[in-house]
């Protein structure tokens, strides 16, 4: 996306600017010098922040992320409320941009439709075998553990909606990022988080209805 930079919107100053100055300089048409100063600032912050996630061509990756983030900052400059320094707000946008790209790359060959849930036929029993081998000292306890696991699996299967089960499976069992799940479900992170929240509440309520104490269950699974 090309943007018309106003060379006439001049400033005698250089960064650091006040928030008011930043907003004035970055509002349409943005001042070219201020845009470049912000871009360089983002690059300097993104490098150490993302280096542990990028195994090669970090400089180019960070430049690309900074450029994309800069466009988002310019497009949303009117929404900046001044709750923080503008540079902190811009870096927040840039960090999310970079990590979102990295998450997409990392998980691009995984479809949440293919993920198996806790009741999938081919893995039923694996959780039990692990419970049995987790050091529980008595057969009575392992039998009790097995019953608890079955109970939780039944509740997940029968109480949650398909969508809730899908997000619980993807995020809590397979450890997929919320960002990736949201994109695959054509929704946003907030909606996915709400699905997880509703699922947790449903499970909590159902435990109460069935007289299950999850703290006690947790202690038993931990062998305490």
């Amino acid at each position: 996306m090309l943007r018309w930079f106003n060379k006439n919107k001049k400033t005698d100053k250089k960064a650091p600017y006040t928030n008011e100055e930043w907003v004035e300089l970055l509002s349409e048409p943005p001042n070219g010098q201020a845009v470049q100063e912000l871009r360089k600032f983002l690059v300097r912050g993104l490098k150490p922040a993302l280096s542990k996630y990028v195994d090669r061509e970090l400089d180019q990756f960070v430049e690309d992320v900074a450029q994309d983030a800069l466009l988002k900052v310019l497009d949303n400059i009117h929404t900046f409320r001044g709750d923080s320094k503008l540079t902190t707000w811009a870096m927040k946008i840039a960090v999310r941009e970079g990590l979102t790209v990295l998450r997409r790359k990392r998980w691009n060959n995984i479809s949440i439709e293919d993920l198996k849930g806790p009741n999938a036929d081919d893995d039923s029993g694996e959780i039990f075998s692990e419970v049995f081998s987790s050091g529980s000292p008595t057969p009575e306890l392992t039998a009790a553990q097995k019953m608890m696991v079955e109970k939780v699996q039944d509740i997940i299967q029968n109480v949650l909606t398909d969508k809730q089960r899908k997000v619980i499976t993807a995020i809590m069992i397979h450890d997929l990022p919320v960002t990736v799940v949201a994109e695959q479900m054509n929704t946003n992170r907030n909606n996915v988080y709400k699905l997880v929240y509703d699922a947790r509440k449903k499970l909590k309520n159902e435990f109460e209805v069935q007289g299950i104490n999850p703290e006690e269950m947790l202690n038993n699974l931990s062998g305490e």
Binding site: P48, S84, L115, R189, L221
Partner: protein, 80 residues
């Protein structure tokens, strides 16, 4: 997929910790810059914004962004 007792324990902890009032990723992101500036100033954003703190503990994506943002700003030091 191999399920483990660790996953089940994490699920139980998440269920046990479910509160009536929680914020989502949008609200957390909205307040993250203020939260982190308080942190950098040596104040206690955890106490001032407990719902943000709570969300950061629950949501891996938001926590990862918080940690990366903190890393970025700490490295920039006086430039921020």
């Amino acid at each position: 997929m191999k399920l483990s007792t660790d996953i089940l324990k994490n699920m139980l902890r998440a269920v046990i910790g479910t509160k009536e009032e929680e914020i989502g990723c949008d609200d957390c992101f909205d307040k993250l810059d203020s939260f982190i500036e308080m942190k950098l100033a040596g104040k206690s954003p955890e106490q001032a914004m407990p719902l943000v703190q709570d969300h950061l503990q629950r949501c891996k994506d938001c926590r990862q962004e918080y940690e990366a943002l903190l890393e970025a700003l700490q490295n920039l030091g006086s430039e921020v």
